[in-house]
């Protein structure tokens, strides 16, 4: 049961909560807006925290366990902060046939992390996706949000190396 009567305020002073509030208002704080709102939280903050989930749950009057269940059902949502750079290797069928597993191995070796992980220094997150819809350009990889096609082991290794050797950005400078 939820503390419906309590006035609900955002978990922190962070101005970005206004964006989330706006999204919830647009949907009249209806429980069905949960996924849309989680998208907004992730877009705004980069990932979902317990505090965010608690706030969204209370605001939309959705039970905690259900919010957590939804947030963990969909691959798109993450509860881990992403690295400074991201590399998403497509593991859809077209890319698989054109050698995606080799690319994935190359990054895993070069960065020393497995898929779904971030390097200890927070420089790079390695993710996979099931088809980006760019199958004509297989194998495809998304580097920092930009889709690139016809990737070879060399190009991906080079990109990963520049990421790993990049200067650390000042706090909050990215995104």
């Amino acid at each position: 049961m939820l503390p419906t009567q309590k006035t609900i305020s955002p978990p922190s002073e962070d101005k970005r909560w206004k964006i989330v509030d706006g999204m919830m208002r647009r949907h009249g704080h209806e429980p069905y807006a949960l996924i849309e709102v989680l998208h907004t939280v992730q877009e705004t903050f980069g990932f979902l925290t317990d505090d965010a989930l608690r706030y969204v749950a209370t605001s939309l009057r959705v039970p905690y366990s259900r919010v957590y269940g939804v947030a963990t059902f969909y691959h798109f949502f993450t509860m881990k902060p992403p690295g400074e750079h991201t590399c998403v290797v497509c593991t859809g069928t077209a890319c698989y046939i054109k050698g995606a597993p080799v690319l994935l191995n190359a990054v895993q070796e070069a960065a020393g992390i497995k898929q779904g992980e971030t390097t200890p220094d927070g420089k790079l997150s390695l993710l996979t996706a099931r088809c980006l819809g760019s199958c004509g350009l297989a194998p495809a990889v998304v580097f920092d949000g930009q889709v690139a096609g016809k990737i070879t082991t060399e190009t991906i290794k080079k990109r990963v190396r520049t990421y790993l050797e990049s200067e650390t950005l000042a706090e909050g400078a990215h995104k």
């Binding site: 049961m1 939820l2 317990d50 989930l53 608690r54 749950a57 039970p63 905690y64 366990s65 259900r66 919010v67 957590y68 269940g69 963990t72 059902f73």
Partner: protein, 240 residues
Amino acid sequence: MNNTAIEICTLIIENHECGGRADQTILEVAEENGIFIPTLCRLSGLSNIGACRMCLVEVKGMNKLMPACVTKVQEGMVVTVNNERLAEHRRLALEMLFSERNHICSVCVTNGHCDLQFLAQKLGVNHITMPYIHPLMPVDASHPRFLADHNRCILCTRCVRVCQEVEGAHTWDIMGRGTKARVITDLNRPWGESESCTGCGKCVQVCPTGALSEKGQAAGEMLKRRTFLPYLSMMREVGK
């Protein structure tokens, strides 16, 4: 809608001629007529989700197998409950559950009172032909009175449903998906810290296995009391 007379159908289940109301399921009519159909996720008094697939039956003229717990009866239906194919499917479904997580009955608190164990005995599943998966799952002992052992959970969601539909607390839900799915309380915090749990213990009573139990029970001691359920489901019928 409520006061229109409900249609009565006649149908044949396992060569028995049966009569039932059009809003009843095959399972309900079968039970009224003393015909046994194995079930696991279903519990009378809770909503039906058709997830465990134990109750699958053949319906003449349909090319798909139908879950008896959610399929409404129809005039002239011919239902087969037992044949070689259905027996094989049920056997494999049970084997799958035994292979998925760790169910060592001899050390379990519900040994002898477990729905899974009962079905395995009834359907003659006494050995498993597929490899065990058995990931090591956590045991949550944080609640003062109850214990949650995820190694024994078959993901039937009876606990989720009773907590939401009967107790109205919605403490439980499922996180993740596929074999990684797991029952959780609140934001996947220890049960004992749950803000929404009322401590009513209904989930423990409806759990078909030893996944949820009362603390302080030795192997084979945990009897499940579900008296609150038929009563509530009767109330619901009256309320309709």
